[in-house]
């Protein structure tokens, strides 16, 4: 790929809340626009920030369709709403009589790369939640099943499936680093996991680097929201099952969900929209149902029992308090 040529990025919003665009605007110490420039990316059009409006936008889309404008990266934010009855008209692009469902299927094959920004565009997300009132799906997935709006066999002109930057909303860095890697020609099929997510963030679990890790190690659990302990045993946390380097990079300068005291709801995963009671851990006979992703259950139970019995008093006390009530000190 010619890295000296500016790459055109077209961003369209489908069944979206606009939150991924808001997150992207957060990136870059000198602002997102400067950062796009650094990576040689030209915003061909973006619904939130571009000057062109109305007919001028339709002209851009028409030029792409006629092959007069290069489409290097085509990015969709939001679920593809296929209803009612397959028309897509729950989400029409205004000024046109076409749905975003139709626009997406027309433009995606013309793009070198297709990016689904956010869990909605990747897998369906919240709008696909029961009872799925608009028949929402992702670009290339419906939940965890390949298919979606473009079909399981779709690949963009450069031979990649849809790149799924999942998350609700994704970390601004996940979005920008994916664009940057595509513009640099540095993202290969092997850089994606089995659900199309870039491994640079999807190769981690949200649990990795959690600031509550000592509480997790000793199974010293929070009972109430705002307690400092581990959120997994009682308060619904799915960070040990959810992909994302959420606790290895700063969100908004230094936060993360678990750091802020609420459960990871696995917003990077297909189907997260259909779990209920996010702050209650489902249990059978007192044992949490959702245990860490790939750990044998019996081992987990054994180690948990062992670590609980070894929990330092300090950790036990701090776990059920909203602030540090006992400081670390040498064991006598």
């Amino acid at each position: 790929m010619d890295v000296s040529r500016k790459k055109n990025l077209l961003w369209l919003q489908a069944g979206s809340c606009g939150g991924c665009a808001m997150a992207a605007l957060d990136n870059g110490a000198s602002g997102w626009f400067a950062e796009l420039q650094t990576f040689g990316i030209n915003l061909l059009w973006h619904p939130g920030v571009s000057e062109e409006t109305g007919e001028e936008v339709l002209d851009i889309l028409a030029r792409i369709e006629r092959g007069e404008e290069r489409l290097d990266i085509f990015c969709i934010e939001g679920s593809i709403l296929r209803g009612p009855e397959g028309t897509g008209m729950f989400n029409r692009l205004s000024g046109t009589d076409r749905s975003l469902f139709e626009w997406t299927r027309r433009l995606a094959p013309l793009a070198d790369y297709c990016v689904a920004v956010g869990t909605c565009a990747a897998y369906g997300g919240i709008p696909a939640g029961d009872p799925a009132p608009t028949d929402a799906c992702g670009l290339q997935y419906e939940g965890s099943e390949a298919g979606g709006a473009l079909g399981r066999d779709f690949s963009s002109r450069k031979g990649l499936p849809v790149v799924n930057v999942s998350g609700c909303a994704p970390h601004p860095g996940w979005i920008m680093e994916t664009f940057a890697a595509l513009a640099a020609g540095d993202l290969a099929p092997g850089d994606l996991d089995t659900l199309g997510r870039p491994k640079f963030f999807a190769g981690h679990l949200a649990h990795h680097g959690c600031s509550r890790n000592e509480f997790y190690e000793f199974k010293a659990s929070a009972r109430n929201l705002s307690d400092r302990g581990c959120l997994m045993e009682h308060l619904g946390c799915k960070a040990t099952q959810a992909i994302g380097d959420c606790n290895q990079r700063a969100w908004n300068g230094g936060g993360s969900c678990t750091h802020a005291g609420f459960a990871c709801i696995s917003c990077t995963s297909p189907g997260f929209e259909d779990s209920h009671n996010h702050h209650v851990t489902p249990k059978i006979a007192g044992i949490p149902v959702g245990l860490p992703l790939d750990m044998p259950k019996a081992w987990f139970m054994t180690l948990a029992a062992l670590s609980k019995s070894a929990t330092p008093d300090r950790v036990r006390k701090n776990a059920e308090a909203d602030r540090i009530v006992e400081n670390p000190k040498r064991h006598k």
Binding site: C20, G28, S79, W251, G255
Partner: protein, 486 residues
């Protein structure tokens, strides 16, 4: 008569479509359509009550905290749980940060770039305005976006992330701040103030909030800074005469705590120049021109079912009405209701709201809120709790049968969540968002919504659908279309 269709409409949150009937170069009649329906209210029904806290914020990526706060207020009213003072302070600080960020994004990214379009190239002021405010390449965005990102570090401290956080609970916020974090919070507002006092206002915030008459505002417009640049454009382009309407101005009251509201709730009548109290009843929604089946006009009883075949329908939004009338909401309403003397004077001088006063009210609120939020950060008492233990309903237990309404002010105005719960499960959920009010379609009487009225009479001239006047009027409301129909 000529008919113009305007869309896609960008630099708003979401998308909208205008259908304008033009007679003698002016808009004779306007229709505004929300072209997206996702069915959030249908998705919320049948879920445990507390799930509203994870689903509702995801209606909107720009006012996610406002949606969280409305859901939390509704569940608070259902359960009677009361947040401790720190919980109220921290939630209000985060909510203020979001609202300030929204106002800033609107001014720099959505609204001002319209003055930098080539259509204005012949104007004497064009050169510097284009260099400063041009979309994407203008100098201002390169300063405003980093300032916005730094301001949103408030979310890293209180909410974990933005948008979409579960930190905002009926009983407070989910993390107790420590001493270092309290200091960082104060520091964020201090740094943001530096940006405001240099770039936006070029004056101390204390001086900005003192501006209380149109004459003082005119004097301020002679200064440096981006707000002064807007004020001069306002004079030059006669924005006081543009997008005028005289509808009741509605505010649900903003930043509530045990001490009351920072901005009080109520209704302001632009023609009479008087405020009055907001009655509990009096809000109803018509669906006569919406792609939704008719159920109840009462938001507490309504259930949404899409119906694309509905005759005469042209928007996914319903038409909320206040005591039978369309109503305008937003910063201009909030400040007028609360008694801001400048905003009231700008409204009463011609008996209406308009493009100019909508923007003035919004930008002035940035100054007021930054001062307030910094004071709230200092008021946090670190030895006290931030969160009350959740009552059984919020721990997922199958208890209770009740209905309640959560009302807050989002950046764009009055936001209400009407919630009905039975045995712990949501039976009905109805949301009326600020832009549902402002960009509503016609009601049962055929009365147009606020934007539809504000567009009537606007001169489009040769430019037709590209007329900048149309762009200014629409964006002066700071529409959030993803909230409008949800």
């Amino acid at each position: 008569m000529k008919r113009l269709v305007v869309g896609p409409f960008n630099r708003v949150e979401g998308d909208l479509e205008l259908t304008l009937d033009i007679e003698e170069g002016r808009v004779a009649s306007a229709r505004v359509a929300a072209p997206l329906y996702r069915g959030f209210e249908q998705i919320l029904v049948g879920r445990p009550a507390a799930d509203a806290l994870s689903i509702a914020p995801r209606i909107c990526g720009i006012c996610s905290v406002s949606q969280s706060m409305a859901a939390a207020a509704g569940l608070r009213a259902l359960t009677g749980v009361k947040p401790p003072p720190n919980g109220e302070l921290a939630a209000n600080i985060a909510h203020a940060a979001e609202n300030i960020a929204d106002h800033l994004t609107h001014f720099y990214i959505f609204f001002m770039p319209d003055f930098a379009r080539d259509l204005y190239a012949g104007e004497s002021w064009f050169g510097p305005v284009q260099a400063r405010f041009k979309s994407i390449s203008g100098a201002a965005a390169g300063e405003a976006l980093p300032a916005r990102a730094r301001l949103l570090h408030v979310m890293g401290l209180i909410a974990g992330k933005w948008p979409h956080s579960l930190a905002f609970q009926p009983g407070g916020v989910t993390r107790a701040l420590d001493l270092g974090e309290k200091m960082r919070l104060i520091g964020v507002f201090g740094e943001f103030r530096v940006f405001l006092e240099k770039a936006l206002f070029a004056a101390p915030l204390e001086k900005v909030v003192e501006i209380s008459t149109p004459e003082a505002l005119a004097a301020f417009s002679e200064g440096q800074g981006d707000f002064a640049a807007f004020l001069r454009l306002g004079e030059s382009l006669k924005l006081r005469e543009l997008g005028r309407i005289a509808l009741p101005l509605l505010s649900f009251g903003a930043y509530e705590s045990a001490a009351g509201h920072l901005f009080s709730p109520g209704i302001f009548d632009p023609a009479m120049g008087e405020a009055r109290a907001l009655a509990d009843a009096g809000i109803a929604e018509d669906a006569d021109f919406s792609f939704l089946r008719e159920t109840s006009r009462d938001p507490a009883l309504a259930i949404n079912t899409p119906d694309m075949a509905r005759e005469g329908a042209y928007s996914w939004a319903k038409a909320p009405r206040l005591e039978g009338s369309p109503a305008e909401t937003g910063a201009v309403a909030r400040q007028a209701v609360h008694g801001n003397p400048l905003v009231r004077a700008l409204i009463t001088e011609n008996g209406s709201t308009n493009v100019f006063v909508r923007v003035v009210a919004r930008v002035m609120e940035i100054a007021r809120l930054t001062l307030a939020a910094e004071a709230w950060a200092r008021a946090i008492r670190l030895n006290e709790s931030f969160c009350e233990t959740p009552p059984p309903l919020l721990r997922g237990e199958a208890v209770g049968q009740a209905s309640a309404v959560g009302r807050v002010e989002a950046a764009r105005g009055a936001l209400g969540h009407w919630i009905s719960v039975e045995k712990g499960v949501i039976q009905r959920y109805q949301i009326i968002a600020p832009t549902t009010w402002n960009f509503s379609p016609r009601d049962a009487e055929g009365t147009p919504g606020p934007l539809e009225q504000a567009l009537e009479g606007v001169k489009v001239g040769e430019a037709g659908a590209k007329s900048p006047a149309i762009q200014h009027v629409v964006r002066s409301f700071d529409p959030c279309m993803v909230c409008t129909a949800h």
